[in-house]
């Protein structure tokens, strides 16, 4: 690992953390490509990204609990159901063409983004909820 790649890892790690805290996502979308750039294989990068997500999300959870935004019971239900989903997803992943799925998911996300933007635009006329 050169100094340059270490600096890249540190700075993109920081950016991933900001996105994680700001938007409530894990940051894996940045961690994985950075770890691959640092020389890890795809599986190692995914595995290592998950380990990096745990303390990152931990800091976010701690702060959000203090700010009064965390809803513990829904978090637990979502997290546990998600674990079951991961197990199912791994089986599906091995039986379907990944490229097509990626594109379909991309299109779906665009639709969701448009829906969210529309809602936010409408809610501007109402009182901001908390």
């Amino acid at each position: 690992m050169s100094n340059g790649t270490i600096a890249l890892g540190l700075s993109l790690g920081l950016v991933a953390g900001v996105l994680s805290g700001l938007f409530g996502v894990g940051g894996g979308i940045l961690f994985v490509p950075v770890l691959v750039a640092l020389g890890l294989g795809q599986v190692e990068a995914s595995a290592t990204s998950l380990l990096a997500i745990v303390p990152t999300a931990g800091v976010g959870i701690w702060r959000q609990a203090r700010y009064g935004n965390l809803r513990v019971r829904p978090s637990l239900i979502l997290g546990i159901a998600s674990l079951a989903g991961v197990a199912a997803g791994v089986k599906i992943a091995t039986s379907l063409p990944e490229h097509t799925l990626r594109r379909l998911f991309g299109v779906l996300l665009l639709g969701v983004a448009a829906q969210l933007a529309l809602r936010a635009a409408r809610s501007r006329h109402k009182v901001e909820p908390a």
Binding site: L10, L12, G13, A16, G17, S20, G21, L22, G24, V25, G26, G28, I29, F31, E44, A47, T48, S49, L50, L51, I53, V54, P55, T56, A57, V59, I61, R63, Q64, Y67, N69, V72, P74, S75, L76, I77, L78, G79, I80, A81, S82, G85, V86, A87, A88, G89, R103, F105, G106, L108, L110, V112, Q115, L116, A117, A120, S123, R124, P129, A130
Partner: protein
């Protein structure tokens, strides 16, 4: 504050888990919009609650991968330690922007990821 049906949360969690296994795109990207659109969460609540779920899923994944010997602790620290500082800043910043701005910004990030998925 609306109390969401557990069945809805279970369904969202399952969908998020399947998607993250399929695309390696974390569950949060699915959980946050679904909490907003399906469960009528406020934007900051959706983000906070998603983080709780993501931590559980990631922890489960780490245990499985660690048993296979795929986890590189040093590399995780290299990106994870600055990310912890980033998360502190990100959550702080989130409290100072409106829910509407937050939702717009999230939609923009989602669009970026969508384009990356479609092109990549």
């Amino acid at each position: 504050m609306v109390r969401p049906l557990p069945a809805k949360l279970v369904a969202i969690g399952l969908v998020a888990g399947v998607l993250s296994a399929l695309f390696g795109v974390g569950g949060g990207i699915a959980i946050v919009p679904l909490l907003l659109l399906v469960c009528a969460f406020a934007p900051r609540e959706a983000a906070a609650t998603s983080l709780g779920a993501v931590a559980i899923t990631a922890l489960g994944g780490v245990v499985l991968y660690a048993l296979r010997g795929d986890v590189r602790v040093g590399h995780a620290a290299l990106v994870g330690l600055p990310a912890m500082a980033g998360a502190l800043a990100g959550t702080g910043l989130q409290q100072r922007i409106s829910g509407t701005t937050l939702t717009f910004a999230f939609a923009a990030m989602l669009s970026g990821i969508a384009v990356w998925l479609i092109i990549g």
